[in-house]
């Protein structure tokens, strides 16, 4: 039974196992030694209790571990249990639902307008650009970012050469 108990302990998250594994095993061993003389029935009850307790405990600890990474969000009835500084107010789901409904309504309205347009306006056809300007623009943008990068690097290099970064090491006290 002790071997099974140790195996079942692997169902727990590693943190819990490292913190309490040895202690739990020692307590289990003590209770087992105490129950052994009481007969098979008492031992069976003890084994059943320990097995169910371990399984339930492992599940609980796993859920707790999940809770810490905020996967429990959807099922939480209280404030969302994220890190304190990132907590959402309770009204967040309602507001998000309203916003989503607004977006869906806007899309549907736009589709209706689009469908009604061909009847009132004549078809114009696809608009073709007079000159193909995409590639030159990309090249120009890349050149601009390259020049900006070079300029920034030059400033940093000049500051480094001037030794300005060493000012950070100067404290107010005179040595």
């Amino acid at each position: 039974m002790l071997r099974i108990y140790r195996c079942l302990l692997y169902l727990y998250p590693a943190v819990h196992r490292e913190q309490f594994g040895d202690e739990m095993t020692a307590v289990f061993r003590d209770i087992q030694a105490e129950t052994a003389p009481k007969g098979i029935a008492a031992h069976a009850v003890f084994c059943a209790r320990e097995t169910t307790g371990l399984l339930a405990g492992a599940l609980q600890q796993r859920v707790r571990a999940l809770d810490r990474v905020s996967v429990w969000l959807l099922f939480s009835t209280r404030r969302f249990t994220m890190r304190t500084e990132f907590r959402f107010p309770k009204s967040t789901p309602a507001l998000m639902t309203i916003i989503l409904a607004g977006i869906i309504l806007a899309i549907e309205k736009a589709k209706a307008i689009q469908a009604s347009l061909p009847a009132t306006n004549p078809h114009i056809g696809p608009i073709q650009p007079a000159h193909f300007t995409f590639l030159p623009n990309v090249v120009l943008a890349l050149a601009f970012f390259y020049m900006a990068g070079m300029f920034g690097w030059a400033i940093l290099f000049a500051m480094h050469r001037s030794g300005v970064h060493r000012l950070a090491d100067v404290s107010g006290e005179q040595k």
């Binding site: 309490f20 202690e23 307590v27 209770i31 209790r49 405990g57 600890q61």
Partner: protein, 107 residues
């Protein structure tokens, strides 16, 4: 865990530690004794509760000096003791109220 009201096993664990620091096995036995054998905790339940109480800083863990095996023992923190007192006060109030209501009904 860190909210009131407490579940019965957790309340019994806290009451067990209120008198003196104890290690896991001692807590198990004391809980069983306090509840007249009605609440028998498994190690999984006990250590799940202890971990939550530790996380919430209601109890603290320390190594027993007297023990040759270097066993870990647990004791209540001031915060844990305060919360336990709050819970006991709440239960006292409830019991008083329940007694009053039941007495009124009998009249």
């Amino acid at each position: 865990m860190g909210t009131l009201p407490l579940t019965e096993p957790v309340l019994l664990i806290l009451l067990s530690l209120a008198g003196q620091p104890r290690h896991g096995y001692s807590v198990l036995k004391d809980v069983e004794q306090m509840s007249d054998g009605r609440v028998v905790l498994s190690t999984g339940t006990l250590y799940g509760a202890l971990r939550r109480l530790l996380d919430d800083e209601w109890i603290e863990r320390f190594e027993e000096e007297e023990s040759s095996r270097g066993r870990q023992a647990y004791r209540l923190t001031p915060q844990g003791r305060r919360n336990l007192q709050l819970e006991v006060s709440r239960m006292k109030h409830l019991t008083r109220l329940a007694n009053l209501r039941i007495a009124l009904k009998e009249i």
